[in-house]
Homo-oligomer: 343 residues x 2
């Protein structure tokens, strides 16, 4: 029996019904584990189901039931390990319910994101989790929701009229500044890069707020390149206008890059210069000296987003929810007291 034969001779509910001497509706109930069917009938039907090698046709069920048991996930990049962990969190809670995840990568391009949103709608996903590009307007995404398609924003918030699962970035910056200040640092730089979305602005504002609160100069914000090798060579930018003794980084990618560049320039991190990362991806533990980093626990954020979406699908009309999870500072070895500095 060739593959094609199998394809064509697909076993349907009706086939099972005939073999088991019941109606198609009864088989459907058994398949969906309804309690409305007697033990005896259920046992008989289940045996036939198995004998005939019945495979549930989710597509057909979706058409009739008007739900597809799929959720769409749009991420801005797959190259950053951070999003792998986020996906892992989403997949674990969505997968538990038996639903499937449809994944797409916008590459931080708004036009591509629009295409993907459209495509997901055509695929009939029951809801969408998206980390939206910086250009995305509130109207754009609220409209999707107005179509009756549940949307939850993850990591980047475009509107407060829709669900959002994110991270308390401002609190994280506060923790970083507090820690460095407690070590005696007063000139602290903030190294950033990438598109200007809510998560970017929150970090900037968090940094400025925390610095101002302590009467420190909040303006030492330095934009560095995106690519890893270029970040390392951007170290001189830190010292262009002032002479900071410490730098907080927008993410661990920047921290690792700067750590490399500082090393190249002969500085000993944690001794001559202090560095705090953000996100606490697994590499923070692997580098030497170990990188002190503000943990944003992407897996947890992914799980939060998935739970929000599931709840939204169940109750389309409840008020928008936001889950903003706390960060915590993972202290390792990349910071030292300012007094010890030899610069």
């Amino acid at each position: 029996m060739s593959a094609d034969d199998h394809r064509k001779s697909r076993v349907t509910l009706l086939d099972v019904a005939r073999h088991a001497n019941v109606s198609r509706a009864t088989v459907s109930l058994v398949v969906r584990k309804s309690p409305l069917v007697s033990e005896a009938t259920r046992a008989k039907v289940e045996r036939v189901l198995h004998e005939l090698g019945y495979i549930y046709n989710m597509g057909a069920a979706s058409l009739r039931a008007e739900r597809s048991n799929t959720v769409g996930v749009i991420v801005p990049t797959l190259g950053n390990p951070f999003y792998g962990e986020l996906l892992s969190g989403i997949d674990s809670v969505v997968g538990e319910t038996g639903m499937a995840v449809i994944l797409a990568n916008s590459g931080e391009q708004f036009s591509r994101q629009s295409l993907l949103l459209q495509r997901m709608r055509e695929h009939g996903v029951d809801g969408i989790i998206a980390s939206l590009t910086a250009e995305t307007q509130a109207e754009c995404i609220e409209q999707i929701s107005d179509w009756g398609l549940p949307v939850v924003q993850v990591l980047r918030q475009v509107t407060d009229r829709l669900d959002y699962a994110g991270v308390d970035y401002a609190g994280g910056m506060q923790q970083a500044v507090d820690y460095l200040a407690s070590l005696g640092h007063r000139e602290i730089a903030f190294a950033v890069h990438g598109p200007v979305h809510s998560a970017y602005r929150e970090r900037i504002e968090g940094f400025r707020g925390a610095m101002l609160e302590r009467g420190l100069d909040p303006d030492l914000i330095v934009r560095v390149p995106m690519a890893m090798p270029d970040i390392a060579s951007a170290v001189p930018l830190l010292f262009e206008r002032k002479t900071p003794t410490a730098t907080i980084c927008f993410n661990d990618v920047i921290a690792l890059g700067l750590a490399a560049g500082l090393y190249d320039s002969g500085r000993v991190i944690g001794q001559d210069f202090s560095l705090v990362g953000f996100d606490d991806v697994s590499d923070a533990e692997a580098t030497r000296p170990r990188l002190t980093s503000v943990s944003s626990r992407p897996t947890t954020v992914g799980q939060n987003a998935a739970r929000l979406l599931l709840q939204r699908i169940a109750k389309p009309h409840r008020a928008p929810q936001q889950i903003v999870s706390k960060t915590y500072l993972k202290i390792r070895q990349s910071c030292g007291p300012v007094d010890a500095f030899t610069i």
Copy 2:
């Protein structure tokens, strides 16, 4: 107009047909961009399509056409950045055709993988790309294919009767050994971990073959733990039986971990000890000294796998194909000549 109204009053082909004074079939042809329809009719229909806000219902189309325009992708973990890059490659070529990727994570568990395979079949995916767990038997996966569901194996090969996109691991090990030998190293360890699948065996055999060819001891194979912090503390294992002057690593995760551990033990990498990684993920460039690594280009492998699947879907009966891509050695700073060693 509330979200529910939208849902219920979905615009169908029939609605469009009535407004445009044509038949439903004609609208269907326009939507699918068939050349069988006149310019005038097409223009008229397209206008109505747009006016009414028609959304293609992929689910309904799938049911009738017996293809879903989705492909399933099963990865063993999402925590390793390597798989993010692989996914990125798959997504880019699958996305180009307008198909959607259904993603699932087996967590290296065979039982979970079976569940996912079953679920993907129920979702009616047109094909599957999978990096299979070590326990997977040839029969298991050949059976999926016998059901008429195209499968391509990626990175790990269970059977040669099905398509496979992978990496020339043995060639990569050869490159690493050749390079270290050219620097004068004769005692070379191989640090490995993880489940024993084809990619694992190929690397082991590649290492042993390359060592034997040069008359070197092929048995210095050391198993290290999975978790990053534990790898660093596994450095003493390298020196338990012999005193290697260099180590090749199964992947960059191990290389980075051992680099950290060697640093902790006071050794200077590239001077006191040489280290070669495998995969060349972005961190290889960021660490100091920069890590010399055998590049396996996961994005390319992902693209290869996706192309194989697309071809297989188009021609179910052609002979199985394998695309084994070459590695190349990215030389950086983590290796030095053995003469310079002070041990």
